[in-house]
């Protein structure tokens, strides 16, 4: 049964599951350094669909789209700015095809890679590029927009507003936090979870959270910081499978499915609402996370 949205699902269930990584799986499947993931929506549709399907088959509640770096500003860096609309629409269509009515599709929107205060792009340009992307994702069949891996408040706010004002979709927004020397978590731009939550909820996001970062365990204090600010807002967490290392010339993400899953009970206790994975995670990681959460839930109910 296709539901109306994430918040609707959360009325009947306290914990939902999201997919894991796409980009790092494409790398194993032959994506070359510097090659655009988004171009695969057109040129390697089957491979993208396979990844989408591999997550849908796990029984997750939502999957994302292969459009993380699909905004016009980022695509312009590789001469693909005129393909932005098509590549985003295709990204959503592929995930929709895999998801059918079984799960929700979250249109992925990542940062532009530009800092507004440097003046390389204007606020209007940034807003317009996000508006173009989210509109195309909606056209392709996305149920929600997931603005992720953000660290600058001004950029994230523009993206959230672009999604709220140009689509009818729920808007999710996640930031990437780093541990400071004093032990609390801020983005590289110096933004705390509370500052981020306050600004983006008022901009119209209905689900917030954190992604990427240093692995599953580091997400627990971030969730607690969010919960100190707001005890009710739905929280999404998508951790990396640890910090990547290079071994024998290959990229290795060190956290195993069991290691990641081991932190799930603490994450649930901290107040997470939706758990998924970021860089380096695979369907195996998500399976382990889902199993651990179910066991923990049964033991505690």
């Amino acid at each position: 049964m296709r539901t109306t949205g994430i918040q609707e699902l959360l009325k009947s269930r306290s914990l939902l599951f999201c997919d894991g990584a796409w980009g790092t799986i494409f790398q194993f499947a032959g994506l070359k350094p510097g090659e655009s993931c988004e171009l695969w929506n057109r040129d390697q549709r089957k491979k993208v669909l396979e990844v989408a399907q591999s997550y849908v088959d796990l029984g997750v509640d939502m999957i994302e789209t292969n459009s993380f770096r699909g905004n016009g500003i980022t695509l312009a860096g590789i001469g693909l700015e005129n393909d932005a609309v098509e590549l985003n629409r295709l990204a959503a269509e592929i995930s929709r095809e895999a998801a059918g009515d079984k799960c929700l599709v979250l249109g992925s929107v990542g940062p532009t890679g530009k800092i507004l205060m440097m003046g390389d792009v204007s606020e209007n340009e940034m807003y317009d590029t996000f508006a173009e992307q989210v509109h195309a994702l909606e056209q392709g069949g996305a149920d929600a927009i997931c603005i992720e891996t953000m660290s600058a408040l001004d950029e994230a706010e523009l993206a959230v507003k672009a999604a709220v004002e140009n689509t009818d979709l729920e808007v999710v927004c996640t930031f990437t936090f780093v541990k400071t020397m004093s032990g609390d978590y801020k983005t590289v731009m110096g933004i705390t979870p509370a500052q981020m939550a306050e600004k983006l909820l008022s901009a119209g996001a209905s689900i917030i959270g954190t992604n990427c970062g240093y692995g599953m365990e580091a997400m627990i204090p971030i969730v607690k910081a969010f919960r100190d600010f707001d005890s009710n807002i739905p929280l999404l967490v998508q951790a990396n499978a640890g910090i990547p290392k290079i071994e024998d010339g290959k990229t290795v993400f060190p956290e195993t499915p069991d290691e990641m899953a081991g932190h799930v009970p603490d994450l649930i206790d901290a107040g997470v609402s939706i758990i998924g994975g970021c860089c380096g995670t695979t369907p195996d990681h998500i399976t382990a996370i889902m199993n651990k959460a179910k066991v923990y839930h049964t033991a505690n109910s």
Binding site: P33, T74, G77, M117, M118, M189, G190, P244, I246
Partner: protein, 211 residues
């Protein structure tokens, strides 16, 4: 007399207009440009860089300080060149082939520039041969390489190999940076040093040139 401590403070607080204003006043009073830079500007970048390293300030504050520094430097540089004063060192910096990320690389470039180095920023997706050509044709002390992605980190090794092949590896020090770069990786690819952040890159560059 212009109070040059205010120049120091205005750079630390990222106040471009004030730092340019004070620099102009100091120059009108015929203050030695070298003294302005060494005593009041580089020290300011050291202070803001230290705060950044200790997470007391973040990227925006660092960028503002670098911008204020640059504004003043632009007034002083022609005078330095005219009197034949050499920079602390000459650096070329770029994000390696296949990688389009420039925020971290630009931060390092600004910090080096603000600390008295002459910096040629080669941009993103820079192929090895372009770096080799630059090292062959110009006087360069340091090659600084950046890679955000673990998939493009091997391109750093390619640059070093290309420098070796061209017989110019020993002409320069190669420093590297990026979120997944470690000392182990640095040793593996035979780079001369790595830094976890933009401020550390400045100390590293100074250390390598002093040795």
């Amino acid at each position: 007399m212009t109070d040059l401590n205010k120049l120091n403070e205005s750079i630390i607080s990222g106040d471009l207009n004030t730092s340019v204003q004070i620099t102009k006043e100091a120059l009108a009073e015929k203050t030695d440009p070298q003294e302005i830079i060494q005593k009041y500007m580089i020290t300011a970048m050291d202070v803001i860089g230290g705060k950044f390293e200790r997470n007391e300030v973040f990227v925006p504050e660092l960028l503002m300080a670098a911008r204020a520094m640059k504004g003043s430097l632009e007034l002083l540089r022609p005078l330095l060149a005219a009197s034949g004063i050499e920079p602390q060192g000459r650096v070329i910096i770029g994000t390696v082939k296949g990688d389009l990320h420039d925020i971290g690389k630009n931060l390092v470039a600004s910090m080096l520039e603000g600390s008295g180095f002459e910096v040629d920023n080669m941009g993103v997706d820079v192929p090895s041969d372009k770096i080799v050509a630059a090292v062959q044709s110009k006087e360069i002390d340091i090659v600084a390489l950046s890679a955000l992605l673990t998939t493009t980190m091997p391109s750093m090794r390619d640059v070093i190999e290309a420098l070796k092949e061209a017989g110019v590896r020993d002409k320069v020090k190669v420093i590297i940076g990026g979120p997944a770069v470690t000392q182990e990786f640095c040793d593996q690819i035979d780079a001369d040093g790595y830094s976890e952040n933009a401020n550390g890159a400045v100390s590293l560059a100074r250390k390598l040139l002093a040795s």
